[in-house]
C-alpha cells in the first residue's frame, strides 16, 4: 500500500508543477507553426515578409448593396473615420479629396521627384525641347489636363512623374470613389500599422473597420441603406479568421472526442468510477504534453492542441487494457506488452522531434511526453486507486463471440493478398499526382473566401504580391539609395517589356543624394530667366507668361529636403512607408515587381531580373518569389516528414527485434501495420486525395497505435497462458473503437491539417486491428483457460 501512496504523491506534485507551467505558457495560432525553426537566408526574408511585409498588412474592403450613390457616401464616411484611426497607415478609396492631396504632393515636389530633372534639362536647348513638347500636348484633348499647370510647369515634370507611376490597373471610379468593374461594389484599401503577425492588433483593426462601417451606416436613412453589406479580405482578415477557426475547432473537436469516448466507455464498463479513473491518465498525459511543449518552445501552437486530441485516442487504450484484461494479469502480462507498445509509439513520435516544421516537432514532443506520462500513471498510480469493489461489466461472453468471429474470418484470409495488390495498383495509377506540394494544401481558409479575395484584388488593382525584390542596407537612407539604384536597373527591363512594372519607395521619397543632385540641376533665378528668354525663341510664348515657373523653380532650389513627414496624409505614404522595413540586420527596401499582363513572371524574365540585380554589385538584393518560396518550404517539410517517418518505422522495427528476438515474430507484428498503411494510402489516393505532410504523419501514427494491437496478438500466440484471449480481443476492439472515434472526429474538421490526420488514422487503425487479428498465428487452444501466468 505504501508504493501506490508514494506514486500518488509524486503524481500530485508533478500535476501541480505541470499545471503551473501550462497556466503560464503562451499560446499562438499564427503562421509560426509553419515557419522553419532555423531558416536559410532566403527563408528569413520570406518569413519577414509573411510576418511584417506590406502585403501582410493590407485589408481589402468592399461595400455591397443599396445604390452606387449610397455606397459612395458610405465609402467616404468609412474612409474618413479610418483615416483618423492610428491603427491604419493609409486608407485609400479613390475619393477626390485624397486624390487631390496626392496630386498636390507630386506637383509641389516635382523638381525633387521627377527623374528628368537633370542639368541638361535646364540648358537653353533642354528647356526649348521640353516646352515645345508641352505645347504640343496642350494642343491635344489631353491638353485639358495639363493646361492649368502649364505656366508653373512648362517642362512637364508632373507628367514625367505620373508617367513613371504608370496608368496602374487602378480600380474604376464610380460616384467619385473606387468601385468594382461591374460597379456593384465600392472598394477601399486599408493598410494597418501593426505587423501582419500581430494578430491581436489585426483583429482590433478588423473590428475598427466593422465599427466604422456600422457608424457610417447609421448616418444614412434606413430606406437608402437597404441590403448594404461589408466584405473584408486580405492577409490580416485571414490570419484573424484562421486563429478563430483553429481555436473553435480545437475546443469543439476535443470536447466531442472526449464526450464520445466517455460515452463508449460508459457503455462498455457500465461503471462511472471506472470511467473517471480512465480519464486520469489521459488528463495527466495531456497536461504533461502541453507543459513539455511550453518548456521546449517559445509558444504552444493552437494546432498542437488540436493534435493533442490524438493522445486521447491512444492513452485511453492503456486504461482500457487495465480494466478489461483485468488487474490480475496487469503487472506480469498486460503491462509488459503495453510497455513495448508505448516504446514503439515513442519511437514513432520521437522521429518527429528533429523536424524543421515546428508544428510537427511540437506534435512529437507533445505525444512522447503525453504517452509516457499516461502510461506511467496507468502503471503506477491507477492500480492503487482501483477500489476492490469496482466491478465493470464482464466482457468474457462478447469476447468469446469475437474470438469465434475472428476464427471464421481467418478462413478467408487468403483474400488479403488482394489488398496490397489493389492498393499498389491505385498508388501506381496516381503516381503522378500522389503528393500535394503546395502550402495552400494546409490553408484553413475556405475556398469561397479565397475566391472572394482573388476577385477583390483583381477589382481593386491590388494583385497579390508574388515577386518582390528585397534590398538590404545598414540604415534607412542607404535602403532608399539601394531602391533608387535598383530602380535604374529595372526601368530598362520595363521598357523592353520583360517586366510589367515595379514599385519603389524611392519614387516618392528619393534618397537625399538624389534630391541634392536634382536640386543642384536647377539654375539660379537670374540664370534661368536668361536661359528661358533664349529657349523660347521660335515658340509662340513669351517669358513673361512663365513667371510662375521661375518662382516655383527658385522655391524648389531653396526648399528643405523631402522627408517622410511630407508624405503624411497622402495615399503615397503607404507606398513609401510600406516598402521600407526595419529588418534584423538593419533596413530593407522592398520593390514589388509585376509581370506583363499575367500574374506570373516567365523563367527567362526571372533570370533577367536576377542578372540585373547581380550586375549591381554595390547593392545587396535578392528577387523573392513568395509563392515559389513558400511552396519550396512546404515541399522541404514534406520530404523531410517522409524521411523522418521512414526513420521512425526503422526505429520501431529495431525496437521490436530487440524485444522479441525473433525475425519471424517481428515480421508478424509489422506485416499487418505495413499492410494497413499501404491500403490506407491506396484508399486515399483512389478517392482523389493528394497526400500531404499530415497524411505521412498519420501513417506513422497508424504504425505507432497499431503496433499495440499486433503486440497483443503476438503475446497471445507466443505465450498462450498469458491471459484470456477473448478478453484481450474485447479490450483491443474497445480500444480501437475509441481510437477510430477520436480520429473520426478529427477527420470531420474544417482544418485541413486535422482532417488529413483523422482521415488517415481512423481507417488505418481499424485495418491494423483487423489485419493483426487475421495474420496472427492461431491463438492458444481453447483449453488454455484464463489463469495466472
Amino acid at each position: 500500500m505504501t508504493r501506490p501512496g508514494a506514486a500518488g504523491l509524486i503524481w500530485a506534485l508533478l500535476v501541480i508543477i505541470a499545471a503551473a507551467i501550462v497556466a503560464r505558457a503562451t499560446y499562438t495560432a499564427d503562421l509560426s507553426a509553419f515557419l522553419p525553426r532555423s531558416p536559410s537566408a532566403t527563408q528569413r526574408l520570406l518569413i519577414e515578409q509573411l510576418r511584417t511585409g506590406p502585403a501582410a498588412r493590407l485589408i481589402l474592403v468592399a461595400l455591397e448593396g443599396a445604390d452606387a450613390r449610397t455606397r459612395a457616401r458610405l465609402s467616404v464616411q468609412l474612409a474618413r473615420q479610418l483615416r483618423s484611426d492610428p491603427r491604419f497607415i493609409a486608407v485609400n478609396n479613390g475619393d477626390a479629396a485624397s486624390l487631390e492631396r496626392d496630386r498636390e504632393f507630386l506637383f509641389r515636389h516635382r523638381y525633387l521627384l521627377s527623374a528628368t530633372v537633370t542639368p541638361q534639362r535646364f540648358t537653353v536647348t533642354g528647356l526649348h525641347a521640353a516646352i515645345a513638347d508641352s505645347l504640343d500636348l496642350l494642343a491635344s484633348p489631353e491638353g485639358a489636363l495639363v493646361k492649368p499647370l502649364f505656366t508653373r510647369d512648362p517642362t512637364g515634370e508632373t507628367l514625367t512623374i505620373l508617367e513613371a507611376l504608370g496608368p496602374g490597373p487602378g480600380p474604376r471610379t464610380s460616384e467619385g470613389v473606387w468601385s468594382s468593374r461591374d460597379g456593384a461594389r465600392a472598394l477601399l484599401i486599408a493598410q494597418t500599422r501593426a505587423a501582419g503577425s500581430d494578430i491581436d492588433a489585426q483583429q482590433a483593426a478588423c473590428q475598427a473597420i466593422r465599427r466604422a462601417f456600422a457608424a457610417s451606416l447609421a448616418t444614412i436613412p434606413a430606406a437608402e441603406r437597404r441590403g448594404t453589406a461589408l466584405l473584408m479580405s486580405g492577409p490580416p482578415v485571414f490570419a484573424v479568421a484562421s486563429r478563430a477557426l483553429i481555436k473553435g475547432e480545437v475546443m469543439r473537436l476535443s470536447g466531442l472526442s472526449a464526450a464520445l469516448t466517455a460515452l463508449l466507455l460508459l457503455c462498455v464498463y457500465r461503471s462511472p468510477p471506472a470511467l473517471l479513473l480512465t480519464l486520469v491518465p489521459i488528463a495527466s498525459g495531456a497536461l504533461a504534453g502541453i507543459a513539455a511543449v511550453a518548456l521546449g518552445f517559445d509558444a504552444v501552437h493552437g494546432i498542437t492542441l488540436g493534435f493533442g486530441i490524438t493522445l486521447i485516442g491512444e492513452a485511453v487504450d492503456y486504461s482500457i487494457y487495465l480494466f478489461i484484461q483485468g488487474a490480475a494479469h496487469w503487472r506480469h502480462s498486460v503491462w509488459p506488452t503495453i510497455r513495448l507498445g508505448v516504446l514503439t509509439s515513442i519511437c514513432g513520435f520521437a522521429a518527429l522531434l528533429p523536424s524543421a516544421f515546428p508544428g510537427l516537432a511540437q506534435l512529437g514532443l507533445y505525444s512522447v511526453t503525453g504517452l509516457v506520462a499516461a502510461a506511467l500513471v496507468t502503471r503506477f498510480v491507477l492500480p492503487g486507486w482501483v477500489p476492490r469493489t469496482l466491478a465493470i461489466r464482464d466482457l468474457s461472453a462478447p469476447g468469446e463471440r469475437l474470438a469465434r468471429a475472428v476464427q471464421k474470418l481467418r478462413g478467408v484470409r487468403s483474400a488479403l493478398v488482394l489488398a496490397p495488390l489493389l492498393a499498389g495498383a491505385a498508388l501506381y495509377v496516381h503516381r503522378g499526382t500522389l503528393w500535394n506540394r503546395e502550402l495552400s494544401a494546409l490553408n484553413p481558409i475556405p475556398a469561397a473566401d479565397q475566391a472572394l479575395d482573388e476577385q477583390l484584388r483583381a477589382q481593386a488593382g491590388a494583385p497579390d504580391v508574388r515577386y518582390l525584390i528585397v534590398a538590404s542596407a545598414p540604415d534607412r537612407e542607404s535602403a532608399l539609395a539601394a531602391a533608387q539604384t535598383l530602380g535604374a536597373r529595372l526601368t530598362p527591363l520595363v521598357a523592353q517589356g520583360v517586366l510589367g512594372g515595379f514599385e519603389s519607395p524611392a519614387r516618392f521619397l528619393p534618397p537625399l543624394a538624389v534630391q541634392r543632385t536634382r536640386r543642384a540641376s536647377l539654375p539660379a533665378a537670374a540664370e534661368l530667366s536668361a536661359r528661358l528668354q533664349q529657349a523660347l525663341a521660335g515658340l509662340p510664348l513669351s517669358a513673361t507668361r512663365l513667371q510662375p515657373f521661375l518662382l516655383d523653380v527658385e522655391r524648389a532650389r531653396t526648399a528643405p529636403a523631402l522627408t517622410s513627414a511630407d508624405l503624411e496624409g497622402t495615399s503615397l505614404a503607404a507606398a513609401a512607408e510600406g516598402l521600407l522595413a526595419r529588418s534584423a540586420g538593419g533596413w530593407s527596401a522592398l520593390l514589388p515587381v509585376s509581370a506583363v499582363a499575367s500574374a506570373d513572371l516567365s523563367g527567362s524574365a526571372v533570370a533577367r531580373v536576377r542578372a540585373a540585380l547581380a550586375q549591381e554589385r554595390s547593392v545587396h538584393a535578392a528577387l523573392l518569389d513568395l509563392k515559389d518560396e513558400t511552396d519550396r518550404l512546404y515541399s522541404g517539410y514534406l520530404s523531410e516528414a517522409v524521411k523522418l517517418a521512414v526513420a521512425g518505422f526503422g526505429a520501431i522495427m529495431l525496437l521490436l527485434w530487440v524485444a522479441l528476438r525473433s525475425l519471424v515474430r517481428v515480421a508478424r507484428v509489422v506485416a499487418p501495420l505495413a499492410l494497413s498503411v499501404l491500403v490506407v494510402a491506396g484508399l486515399l489516393v483512389a478517392l482523389g486525395e493528394r497526400l500531404t505532410i499530415l497524411h505521412v504523419v498519420g501513417m506513422l501514427l497508424i504504425v505507432a497505435v497499431g503496433s499495440n494491437y499486433a503486440l497483443f496478438f503476438d503475446r497471445s500466440s507466443a505465450r498462450p497462458r498469458s491471459g484470456s484471449v477473448p478478453l484481450t480481443l474485447a479490450s483491443l476492439l474497445v480500444a480501437n473503437i475509441a481510437t477510430v472515434l477520436t480520429f473520426g472526429v478529427l477527420a470531420c474538421s474544417r482544418l485541413p491539417v486535422l482532417a488529413d490526420l483523422g482521415s488517415t488514422v481512423a481507417p488505418g487503425t481499424l485495418l491494423a486491428l483487423l489485419f493483426s487479428a487475421l495474420l496472427a498465428r492461431p491463438p492458444a487452444p481453447p483449453d488454455a483457460a484464463p489463469g495466472a501466468s
Binding site: 496642350l138 484633348p141 496608368p167 510664348l541
Partner: protein, 197 residues
Amino acid sequence: MRLQRRWVGVATTLALAAACAASAQASATPAFDELLQLLAARRHGHVTFTEVQQLAMLDRPLKSSGELLYDAPDRLEKRTLKPKARTLVLEHGVLTARRGQRSYLMELREYPQVAPFVESIRATLAGDRAALERLFRVQFDGTLAHWTLLLVPLDTTLAGAVTDIRIEGERDVIRTVQIRHSDGDRSLLTLGPEIPP
C-alpha cells in the same frame, strides 16, 4: 360621328405634344431626328482637318493639320501630321494617345475633363442622341442642309474647362467644330473633303 372624330384628333395631338416634350429637351424639331438618322446611317468617314487653337497665354495660335478617321459607332482616330506626328484613338471609350515611341491609355469615363472634346465629335458622327444628352444640353438650329448643334456641358464642375461646343455641318457631313473655353481660349477644327479610300 364628326364630333367624335374631332375629339380623337385633339387627343392625338395632345398625346403627341406630350411625347415630344418628354423625349426631347430643347430640340424637338423633326429635322434634328432626321439629322441623327442620317448621321447614324453613315458607317465610315475619312477626311482631312486643320485645327487652330487660340490660347490666351500664347502669343500666336497653335496650328495643326492631319486626318480624321471614323468607323461607326465608336472608333474615332485623329492623326495629326503637322507640326508633329501623333495619333489619338478613341475606341470603346478608351483613349489611346501615341506620341513618338510612347503611348498612353485613358478610360474616358475617368477623365471627365477630356471627354467633351472627343465625345462631342464621336457622338455626333454616330447620331447617338443618348450619348450627346448624357454629357450636354443639346440645341439644334437650322435645316438639314445647313445645321448647327450647340452643346453645353451638363457637368457644372467641368464648366471651368469647356463653355460650349458648336458643331456645324451640311447633311451627314461635319464642317467645323468650335470649342470655347471658360478662360476665353478657343479652338476651331475645320474638316476638309472626303479622302477616297
